[in-house]
Structure formats: C-alpha cells, structure tokens
C-alpha cells in the first residue's frame, strides 16, 4: 500500500472547500452552491518527486462558523490541515486568529495552511489592505474558479508531509 496522508479541509460554510477539492481532484468547477453536511472523503495520488507518490486522503468537512463544534472523530489521524476562508466575506476571516487557535487546540503539532479563496472576485491591492487591517497572514491565495494556486497548495502540502 502507498503512503497515505490524511488532509482535513475546514473553515466557515460557503468559503469554497468543496470547490477547491473538486478543482484539485477533477479539475472542474461549478457556480452552484451545494451545502456539504458531515464529511466527504476523496483520494488523489500525487507525485512528490520523480518515482515517489503519496496518496492524499482529502476530508472535506461541513463548514461551520463555530469551529468548536467540529466532531473530534473527524480529526483523528490527521497529517495536515487546510483552513479556508472567503476573501469576499469578512465574517469568514474577521476572527481568523481565534478560529486558528481553536483548530490548533483540537489538532496540535500538525502542519496547517491558511488559504484565502475566491481571489478572482477581488483586486489584489484591496486584499493587501484588507489583510493588514485584519492582521491576517495567509499561506495561499486561491481561486477554485480559475484554478489559481490550487494545485500549488495541495502539492506543497504533500511535499511538506512526505
């Protein structure tokens, strides 16, 4: 059996978790919003170096604005966490640092990437001021719609965990 790494994708609802995974796994996108409940799990094998593969087991969690309600069972055995917020909706990042603290208290010592999604909808300059104003640091700025930085994000994580 291949090396497998469990990645949990979480964040507030409607931020684009499902869309990011769909873009990464199927290279497709839909404008329709179908609310995810519980958890959807998909697998994707990626090449981290020539002749070396890792299978990423992607856990797409139900979005919630109260991260304390995430079911602990979902987080067992997690190797990496992707926290997604929506750059167009302040409510999804206004309490970002507090949200991250909650996540870290639930899964400590696990690499965590902070991702601002839907960057296709805003101007880059506006983003910068927004982030400085809200004291936010991100690892990736993505668009599931255009595919911008989506592969980079997951490949980066795969290499990190490998």
């Amino acid at each position: 059996m291949q090396v497998s790494k469990k990645i949990v994708v979480l964040g507030h609802f409607g931020v684009g978790k499902t869309s990011l995974i769909r873009r990464f796994v199927e290279d497709s996108f839909s404008d329709n919003y179908k609310v995810s409940i519980g958890v959807h799990i998909t697998k994707k094998v990626v090449e981290v170096s020539p002749e070396e593969e890792v299978s990423l087991i992607l856990w797409d969690l139900e979005g919630t604005d109260d991260l304390t309600t995430i079911r602990d069972a979902y987080l067992l055995g997690t190797h990496g966490v992707v926290f997604v917020f929506d750059v167009t909706r302040p409510s999804t990042f206004q309490a970002l640092n507090a949200d991250l603290d909650i996540v870290r208290s639930k899964i400590s010592k696990t690499p965590l990437l902070v991702v601002g999604n839907k960057v296709d909808l805003v101007l880059k300059e506006d983003l910068e001021t927004l982030f400085t104003k809200n004291n936010i640091e991100t690892n990736f700025l993505t668009s599931a719609k255009t595919g911008n930085a989506v592969n980079d994000l997951f490949l980066h994580l795969a290499k990190l965990l490998h």
Binding site: M1, S4, K6, F13, G14, Y33, K34, V35, I37, G38, V39, H40, I41, T42, K43, I57, E62, G63, R71, A73, Y74, L76, G77, T88, R89, P90, S91
Partner: protein, 512 residues
Amino acid sequence: MLDQYQKEYATQNVQFILIDEKGTILETDQAFLKLETNSSIFDVHAFFYTFESIKDTLENALLFSCVHIHFKDEDYVTDIRFVKKKEGYLIIITDYTSHYTEYQAIAQTRNESIINGELVAIKNAELEERENFKNSFIRNFSHELRNPLTSIISITKILSDTALTNQQQDMVTFLQQSNANLKQLLDDILSISMISSGRLKLRENIFSLSQLFDLLRFTYKTRALDNNIEFAVNVDKKIVDLVEGDRLRLFQVLTNLLDNAFKYTQTGSIRLDIQLNQKRANRLNLRFEIVDTGVGISVENQTAIFESFSQLSGEQNSDAPRGTGLGLSIVKGLLNLMDSEIKVISNVGEGSSFYFDLTLKQPLATTSKTSIITPRKKKDKKAKFRTDKKFRILLAEDDINVQTVLFKSLLDTNYFYIDLVSDGALVMEKLINEEYDLLLIDINLPNVTGDQVARLIRDFPFKNIKSIPIIGITAYSYEDDFKAFKKSGMNAVLSKPFEHEELLSTMAKYLK
C-alpha cells in the same frame, strides 16, 4: 412470520463487517453494500483509510457520523462505528441517507440566506461609503469654491461703485448675474449633498399659509409680466391659515418648481393650485400643484429629471433641457424628508403638471404661544453707523484675496479703522495690546482656528476683551458647523460668499 419480516427490514439499513488488522474483510452481510470476503476494506471507499490510524489506539468503540460513502454508483450517507473484538475489528455501517438528506435541505436554506444577507450588507456598506465620499468631496470642493467666489462677488460690487461707461456697466451687470447664478448653483449642490447625507434637518414652526402664498404671488408677478405669461396662485377656501411645518423648505420646494415652470414656459400660463385633500384631528393634507403650458417632458425623461446631476452627466435631451437638473432633485429630496413625493404628468408640447401631497400640522389656535414666523423681508435699507467716530476693527483672515477685498471694501465705507492679522495665534496678542470695537475672524485660520480664538476670548479675565463682539466668517455652510461656531462664543457667523451689505448690516448690529 413476523420476526422474519422484522429481520428483513430492521437489518436492511445496518451492515456488519468484520475485518482483520490488515483491513481484509473476514465476514460481511450484504445489507446494502455488496462486499466480498477477502477483499480489502480500503478498496471500498477512501474513508476506510482512517482504520490505519485508529486501530492501535481503538478501545471499545468509535463512531463517525454523517459520512458520505460512494460505492458502485450509489451514494449513501451513513454513520460508521468501529468496535474492537477478539477476532478482529467490527465495522457497523448504518444508512441514514433519507434522514441526512432532510438535514441537508435545512442547512442549504440556512447557509444560503446567511450568505445572501452578508453580501447585501457588504454591498450596502460599499454604497454608503461611496455616498459619504461623494458628499464630503462636494462639501470640501464647494468650500474651496467659496473663497474665490467671495472675492469675485466683492470685487464686482466694488467695481460697480466706480465710474463706469454704459458698456462697462452692462458688463458688470452681466457679471453680477453670473455670480448670482454661480452662487445659486453652489448652494444647490450643497443642499443636495446635505439632503442625501442626512445632515439637513427639518425645522417646524407655526406659520401663515396666506403670507407664504402672498410672497410667492409677489415674487413671480413681475417675472410673469416680463415674460408675458399669466400667473395665478389659487388657494382652496377651506384651508386654514395657520399651520405648523417647515416653512422655509416648503418655500424652497415651491420656488424651485415655479422657477422650473418659468424656465420652460414661453407662452400661456403658470398656475399654483392648493387644494385641501383631507382634514383629520389636527392634521391637514394639502395637494400642491404647479401647472404650466410649457414645452413638456417626454415619458422617458419623467423620472430622469429628478436625478441629481442628470443634466451634468452630459446627456442633454432636446425636449428636457432642465437647467442643471439640481432644482428638481432638491425638490424630490426635500419632499422625501417631509414624507411626501413629487409626481409629474406631462405631454411634450402641451405642458407639465408637478404635484405633491403634504401633511401639515394644525396648531390649536388658543394654546399656541409660539411666535408666528413671517418672511424676513430682504433688507435693502443700508446699514447705519455712527458718523461721529470711526470704529476699530481687527480683521483676522489668511486668504490674501478675501483679505484684500474685505479690507478695501470696509475701508471704503469710511466708518472703520482696520488692522489685519493672518494668523490665529496673533489675534490674542493684538487684542491685549490694542483696543478694538469688533473682531472679524475667519474660522479656518492657520495655527489657532477662529472658534478656538473665540473660546479663548470669552474665557479671558478682562472685561473689555472678554466682551468684544466677534463675527466669524466661514466657507462652511452646514447647520451643525454654524451651531458649533456660535457656541464657541461668536455673536454671528457669515458664510462665504456673502454680500457686502449683509456684512455691514451684521456689523452694525454690534457697533453702537
């Protein structure tokens, strides 16, 4: 028989699978996932990879709820339990698809409505921000315009008092008209920005309707005669005279509508009709209607004429050359404030009728002690000053143009000695070392502003300084600002651009 059925249905949505520690299926029923023994649980669905990481620490049982399983083209939403047994690991999968589908529908509605609410709020906030920016821009811009305009008006006034040839006199008259137009435009723009920023507050008073209508008759009679147009104000006999409301704003609405009518009516007549719609308890509802026989407005333009800057935006329509378009949008805004709405009926070439219904309070005649506001006649009598002595004026103004103009025009009257300072910090020094009868001070001075100076003066221990009359000059023309300035201890505040006579008569009030 029954327990056979029970067995069939009760177990249908629960599946039991027994695996070894490598994940190989040892035993399974076929409740809904058709699995083969000896195959690997990992091949069933990616979820089961989780077994790898939990098996070593698994004590009794562990539950995963609401897990989506896709297997052989079927989707299931399930709860999955792992239980450690002697023979290996037991997996119990319960199919709750229909239950979770209901829950999904609820979550769908909830999330969508929350997100929509957020997006609407964001959009509104953006609109508001843009509107605020626009208003503060207009405010600052008109502030900038007021200084040079004050100079122009004052210099034109000085110029008109010099010896001029007939031709020059005509040009000066033209200049004065243009100045007046420009000032009107500036005031209109400010009115609009005040209305849309909510800074304009209504002030209700008891006033006489008949006096208001007389004033309108009087104001427009000459204009009608000049243009050879019939003009009439017809008032319903059932309307009482004394009412309570914002007389100034009502007057502004009616004059804007009448000005508009005169502008677009070359022949025929213009009428202002006032009808009583309804009278209930102490409220009157009146219909005001302005009817003209002018050029009319096409249906397409009938909403556009009330938009701010509709004409300034460059789309000139031949049949609706409504000036700057500001007058009507002021009407719309003011009536809005008064809970009313302007409406128009018009046919191109036949004329227009603008109308609105307005509710006014009817004060109880006997109990009212409030003084009745009568229209302030425009003072055309010259301000009077003593001639046996000259007054000493300290003028504090930093704008060199305004300074020159004020200095020269005040000096020309021969009533005053004038000292100049251009810095707020120097005013106190001057007042202490010299004696003055009045301080004329620009509010927007460098270092120490006019209102700060006024406060210092009013707190000063020596009576002769403490009680000196102060007249403020400001380019601001907002009500709030005025109030704040007066509170700082100024006796009067004039807003630029002001007329020479207005300044003199204000000064005369405090120089005895």
